[in-house]
Amino acid sequence: MTRWDAIIVGGGHNGLVCAAYLARAGRKVLVLERRHVLGGAAVSEELYPGFTFSVCSYVVSLLRPWIIRDLDLTRFGLQIIPLDCSFSPLPDGRSLARWSDAEATRREIAAFSQRDAERYPEFGKTMAQMARFVKPLIDSPAPDPWSLKPRNLADLWRTAGRMREMNDEQRRILTKMMTMSAADFLDEWFESDVLKAPMSVSGIIGTYLGVRSPGTAYVLLHHYMGEIDGAFRSWGFSKGGTGQVSEAIAAAARHYGADVRTETPIEKILVRDGRASGVVLENGDVFDARIVVSGVDPRLTFLGLVGSEHLPDEFVTQIERYKLRGSSGKVNLAVDRLPEFACRPGDGPHMRGDVAIAPSVAYLERAYDEAKYGAFSKRPYLNVVIPSVVDPSVAPPGKHVISCFVQYAPYNLAGGADRWPEQREAFGDTVVDTLAEYIPGLKESILFRQVLTPWDLEQDFGLTEGNIFHGELSLEQLAFQRPAPGWAHYRTPVDGLWMCGSGTHPGGGIMGASGALAARTLLGTKAV
């Protein structure tokens, strides 16, 4: 029987990135994916004939450009179409669109507040400058504030060096961004609710927090790391759906020699004498490996696949305390015509970007308030994209796919998470009703609807508690504390078992950084 250098548990995009890097370095790598498609939460599936859905993750946010270059992903089919616009319709017939055209954006905002219109570019300038300081943090392993190893001290010194380079004002802003709520932070800049609301949501996506919860301001920065076109917002559609990102990475991994298999669910990670030695599949097959790298979330990895008997008590406590608490759902629609917004009719360029149903800060906060006590929001925040407008390959001519990211849909419903199946359709109706307030003919145009609750995300995609980021991106679960203090460097208490998923630093959307940094660490420490 072959002994692999490394087995990657889970064929999500981070697992695939890790596999591709290891394979490129000449290691014998096996990727095992439970489902029939690769990509984990970054998948495209034809759920309805002729319509391709980005089932879960729907925009490519911060896919690291160096990964695209390293793995030559463009050659393997990666194409990203930047979102050109952020559109926020309002119930009163007004609307706000923010474009890559600064002057047009200024005019749009000035309709609500001239002051804000003038401050908006200043805000962008400040954020871009701040992003310079933060970017290295997401492109390297987290510094370890405890370790005295020269390497880690050097990391710490480098991080501190960046801080020293900042002036007083920048340090002050960074401190505020790390600790303030998105709404409070934006209050210091802007007066118009119509502008603040859609801006503030970037801080709450995927978290069980509201826009007024401290610590949510930081993610505002991510919008300014402008990677895809270097100028405006680094978010885009992957042509053919987000699954194409995974397919491109998988193609690269295979090209470099990795063996990538689907429909191979894992039963257990084998631990012998305190060392991970391989995996057992549900069908009983056993694969041996020098190391096992888990791309699934920490809770599932340690308490599900490894078992607490192989772990130190303190670590088990840490993983039990690790907060996942999914808070979002997804509704995918196939429609027979292009949706039309009542407040801005026609198929204008505002359809090419993302649409935020976030009319006011209070609206968002109320949505959160409902969710806090274990119910989905009656008036949820929606992030809607219609990728078929810019990528005709995903729907038949004249027809469209609509992807609605929905918040809040708390995993822990009052009465238990297993009440989700009975509430699924009511949840779907709420989303469609909410959206139909802005798109009058929506309901009549729906051909097909898929509703994904956090419960479904857990059942179908293996995301514990339906958390799309493998664990909340809250301050105490970031950097050197992700997923647990002392275990931020992809290492685990079990020898030969490593992590490479979004539950490790830096985490987050389709960035690939966790997988790539894990691979770099593995190769760097000669673990494989």
Binding site: W146, R164, N167, R171, R172, G215, E365, R366, L475
Partner: protein
């Protein structure tokens, strides 16, 4: 008139600064706008024969160092003999008394949850390990973040070393807990809802946060690591002793002396002008008013523009109202009719607190507000008339400006909500209430000259603590304007009756 130092505001922090400067031989005048000294700690007769010993109630965070340095005991201050217990009543159940005494605590918790008894001891032990470090942070000026400051680096290095000395586990725990929400933190330790709510209370009161808001665990940590005994006759007792000390040290304490302007010339604060036109000159002006009130006293251009802007954005959104009741007979809780409690906490679960917090975000009144009840007349019977008690209630969270404005109806609505909430735990509330006086946050703003009625002089949020309090350029009490110092709760270590800001400010002034 000419002085060495003028202190704007005669609250407990202003008096502390003045007394310490006076002790060091400086000629000091304290200028208090109101007719009485004490600010939020001043006694206040709210109905004939009924007096509350301060708008704030909790004196357990008073710094021991201040008491010693000023020899307050010699000037009449006494610590209460009794434990500063807090009782949390329950609709169904016996309620719970939170005590600093582990034996008492065990007796309280055992019948409810033995797991929590064990957890309690562990939690206290873990706090005990963190306590020296946290106290060190609270008792020292915040780190000097000015670039190139050698002293700052030295201090930072020493603090870093102290942090490391906690050991890896406690250090990472401290870093982990800081940004957490208090609900999660207490949830990790305990299972009894009432205990969790009781512990979370001090972490969220006064701010624009609820128990599920991140960053609130730090408040609990700070509170738990600094609380000790309470002052016998309440805040007013402390103020009396501070005033006596200050007078003994030669300070001039002037009431009805409202400062209208800080006088600035050639880049120096030279004194103040009072509302009646009188001008007073001094080398040092120390302001114990809140930072935004101070901003209004500064002539245009005296502070750098960016500092003016940043202080203008200093968050002071008051959420605290006060309802003082003249109470016939004794305040007895239905669930423990045989005992009387000086302090009580109404809010049975974390969600009760969170639901009490939610409406404030929309300018609405809470249906079931979170109440912090104090019955000072139990230990100081002279505060009430014979056969009566003073029941002072801090009501959380009440918006500064309720939607539609504070009309008589809205005030009555709030008062009804408070009494109805109290009525869930106390029989026949209406028959006990002889007189009442409600202060909304707007009233508090107006009465005490406190921006937004925010009783901490600036919300305790992570970005408004330590060197960010109230701004990196003046977090060490000296401001960029020569001769102008901050000595109020808007500076580190912040609000509450600790006298810490006043003490550290005096130290900074004397160092120059």
């Amino acid at each position: 008139m000419s002085y060495d130092a003028l202190v704007i505001g005669g609250g407990h922090n202003g008096l502390t600064t003045a007394a310490l400067l006076g002790q060091a031989g400086r000629r000091v005048a304290v200028l208090e706008a109101r007719p009485v000294l004490g600010g939020l700690a001043a006694r206040d007769e709210f109905a004939p024969g009924f007096t509350t010993p301060g708008l704030l109630q909790d004196t357990t965070n008073l710094r021991g160092a201040v008491v010693e340095q000023l020899d307050l005991v010699k000037h009449g201050m006494r610590f209460a003999d009794a434990e500063p217990n807090v009782f949390a009543p329950q609709r169904d159940g016996r309620g719970l008394v939170l005590s600093r005494n582990d034996v008492h605590m065990q007796a309280e918790l055992d019948p409810v949850s033995q797991a929590d008894t064990a957890a309690w001891l562990d939690w206290r032990a873990s706090l005990g390990r963190l306590r020296p470090f946290v106290q060190r942070v609270l008792n020292e000026p915040p780190p000097d973040t000015a670039p190139g400051s050698i002293r700052g680096k030295w201090e930072l290095a020493r603090t870093g070393l102290a942090l490391r000395r906690l050991g890896r586990r406690d250090m990472t725990e401290l870093l982990r807990v800081g940004p957490m929400c208090v609900a999660d933190w207490v949830g990790e330790w305990f299972e009894t809802p009432l205990l969790k709510s009781l512990l979370a209370g001090p972490a969220v009161r006064g701010g624009w946060v609820g128990p599920w808001s991140p960053g609130t665990a730090a408040n609990l940590l700070l509170h738990e690591c600094s609380s000790g005994r309470s002052v016998a006759s309440g805040p007013a007792g402390l103020v009396d002793a501070l005033a006596a000390t200050a007078r003994a040290a030669g300070c001039e304490l002037r009431t009805d002396a409202r400062v209208s302007k800080v006088l600035v010339s050639a880049g120096w604060a030279r004194g103040v002008e009072l509302e009646d036109g009188e001008t007073l000159h001094a080398d040092v002006v120390a302001a114990s008013c809140d930072p935004r009130t101070l901003l209004g006293l500064m002539p245009r251009g005296a502070l750098a523009l960016h500092l003016e802007e940043q202080l203008g954005a200093w968050r002071m959104r008051g959420t605290t109202a006060k309802l003082d009741l003249a109470w016939r007979g004794e305040l007895r809780f239905r669930c423990r009719p045989d005992e009387v409690f000086e302090r009580a906490h109404v809010g049975e679960t974390l969600d009760d607190l969170e639901r009490a917090y939610d409406p404030v975000k929309y300018g609405e009144l809470p249906q079931r507000p979170h109440l912090e009840i104090h019955v000072p007349s139990i230990r100081a019977p002279y505060l009430a008339t014979e056969g009566h008690q003073v029941v002072s209630i801090l009501v959380h969270w009440v918006p500064l400006d309720v939607l539609g404005g504070w009309t008589d109806e809205r005030r009555a609505e709030l008062e009804r909500a408070v009494l109805a909430t109290l009525g869930e735990y106390v029989d026949d509330v209406a028959e006990h209430v002889v007189a009442s006086r409600l202060l909304t946050p707007r009233d508090i703003e107006r009465t005490y000259g406190l921006t937004g009625g925010q009783v901490q002089h600036g919300e305790h949020a992570l970005d408004q603590l330590l060197h960010m309090r109230p701004n990196p350029s003046c977090s060490r009490y000296a401001t960029p304007l020569a001769g102008l110092y901050l000595c109020g709760a808007g500076s580190h270590p912040g609000g509450g009756i600790s006298c810490g800001p006043g003490q550290l400010a005096a130290r900074a002034i004397l160092e120059v």
